[in-house]
Amino acid sequence: MAEKKLMYGNHAMVEGVIAAGCRFFAGYPITPQNEIPELMSIRMNEIGGVFVQTESEISAINMLFGAAAAGKRAMTSSSSPGISLMQEGISYIAGADIPVLVVNVVRGGPGLGNIAPSQSDYYQATRGGGHGDYFTITLAPNSAQDLYEFPRLAFELAEKYRNPALILADGLLGQMMEPVEFSSKPIDPKSLPEKEWALCGCKGRERRVVRSYDLKAGKLEVLNLRRAEKYAKIINKEQRFKTEYCDDADLVIVAYGTCSRVSDAAVKMARDKGFKVGLLRLITLWPFPMDVLGDMAKKVDNFLVVEMSNGQMIDDVKLATECRSRIYFHGRPGGGVPTPPEIYKRIEEVLGGAR
């Protein structure tokens, strides 16, 4: 059996990143993700990787741009205000088709907000976030185990499509302790193939250029149309989710991250009381699992969207279901975390005597 350890979510993430063969971290401390740079500074030193504590998140994302353009797996982590600062760099990285991993341990906003867990960066994560036509692959873990496993998946998807990938966690997942199973064999970075686009000196080949601009008339349009084809392929192939009790459900809860864990408990409470309630837990937020929701909308009358925000993902649920079903919302903005009884109460309100 694989080794099992009780760990903080943020620590599990560090080990997951290292197990994914990443040897470059640059970042700036910000609560609630400080455990990541702290442990990274120790672990990267132990294994001969690079750890840079930067002067800003702007600098961190650009160091990532450099390290990843050199063909290496590179990651940074931050929390909401810091991720806002990184948007310029993420846009350039997306425009240069370079794979990187950015982790957002989301906290309450807007502004300095607070340091409590939140999901209010959904729009930012799933709409590109910075300027220009682009998307970032966005994964939503809901356990310490996911935080350990998702970095590998994120790097694989990022490299497959040459696109930045985001992991959208939150303060609760990062700070929570859970058992983590070191399920997969760590990747030796030396075993990763050299990238045919990496900057490493032009010995024996044509020089390579990594850039996000093209000023020649009509050229950028062509590049962006090509990128749109890539996005269509990702949307087509990479929608990830999990369903629970959905087959006979009168109501399906749609949630991700912490909300999907809380909703899981609420679903069990409802089932105990005889309500036919299911859970659709989203793993990819971009690409949004619209196909499964579109199918479900044909037979499920009610959806309850649970978010730690004033309602952002609900827009995508409406789009995916084409509003064919009734869509209800339960949200806790500004650092509030819903409880299972709270969600159960909403289920009762919606389904009333339908048990």
Partner: protein
């Protein structure tokens, strides 16, 4: 027929789009020659700035990357730390280095990243059409200081070499100019030192180069060279501001 003067292998065949009398072409040529003379072209990664020399990624015949405005030293850090066997240079103008990227250059210097920075100071924003730069001299006219830079309202220029020399990190800092043959030769020597320092893992080296922008200054190329020598170099004195190799001896 024997060719006695041609384009160095360190530059591509691409036609450079600089104005007549601009200093960028001179500095490009020096770097292009040094990439060959130091035998580093095939392991060099260059970083182009945002500004007139954004197209430097088409001009230098080596691997190149084009970062966001001012972030060159951060990109350089990422490249150099993951590819220490490569030679990494960041080519930056005054908007790039002394305005947008002030934090990045200061901290790369403070960490003494083993990189080479080439800082072109022409006291004006060239590409966007002659607006005031952080290095525009007091009283100097630009399209955003039409009556001359008013230090009461627009503050003082930034003297980058002097500022970075206040840090312990930098290994080598020198300010040169490309207005006269003598100064061009001096610039070549400084750039050679800055690359050689990186080759022998000495740490952060930066050469600031005072450079003409006749178009932005509203002068002829000849007037611009004269003005650089007589006015600009008075405000920004040429010389070595840090050379730790002297202390090692």
């Amino acid at each position: 027929m024997k060719m006695i003067f041609g384009r160095p292998l360190g530059l591509t065949e691409t036609l450079q789009r600089y104005c007549p009398g601009c200093g960028h072409g001179i500095v490009h040529r020096i770097i292009g020659e040094l990439l060959v003379k130091l035998d580093i072209r095939e392991r060099t990664i260059g970083i182009a700035p945002v500004g007139c020399s954004v197209f430097a990624d088409e001009y230098f015949n080596c691997d190149m990357i084009q970062p966001p405005h001012g972030r060159g030293p951060a990109i350089a850090t990422g490249l150099k730390r993951t590819r220490p066997e490569c030679i990494v240079f960041s080519y930056q103008g005054d908007g790039d280095l002394a305005a947008m990227g002030t934090a990045e250059i200061i901290h790369a210097a403070a960490r003494s990243e083993n990189i080479t920075v080439i800082f072109i100071n022409n006291a004006i924003f060239g590409m966007t059409g002659g607006q005031m730069a952080p290095t525009t001299l007091p009283g100097m006219k630009s399209t955003t200081s039409v009556k001359g830079r008013d230090i009461g309202k627009q503050g003082f220029p930034i003297k980058v070499c002097e500022m970075l020399a206040s840090l312990d990190g930098p290994y080598y800092l020198e300010r040169c100019a490309v207005d006269t043959p003598r100064n061009v030769i001096r610039t070549e020597k400084a750039l050679k030192t800055a690359f050689a320092n990186q080759i022998s893992n000495k740490g952060f080296s930066m050469v600031e180069i005072l450079s003409m922008c006749p178009t932005g200054w509203g002068q002829t190329p000849v007037q611009a060279k004269k003005w650089l020598g007589e006015v600009m170099a008075e405000y920004y004195p040429l010389g070595v501001f840090r050379d730790l190799s002297k202390e090692e001896k």
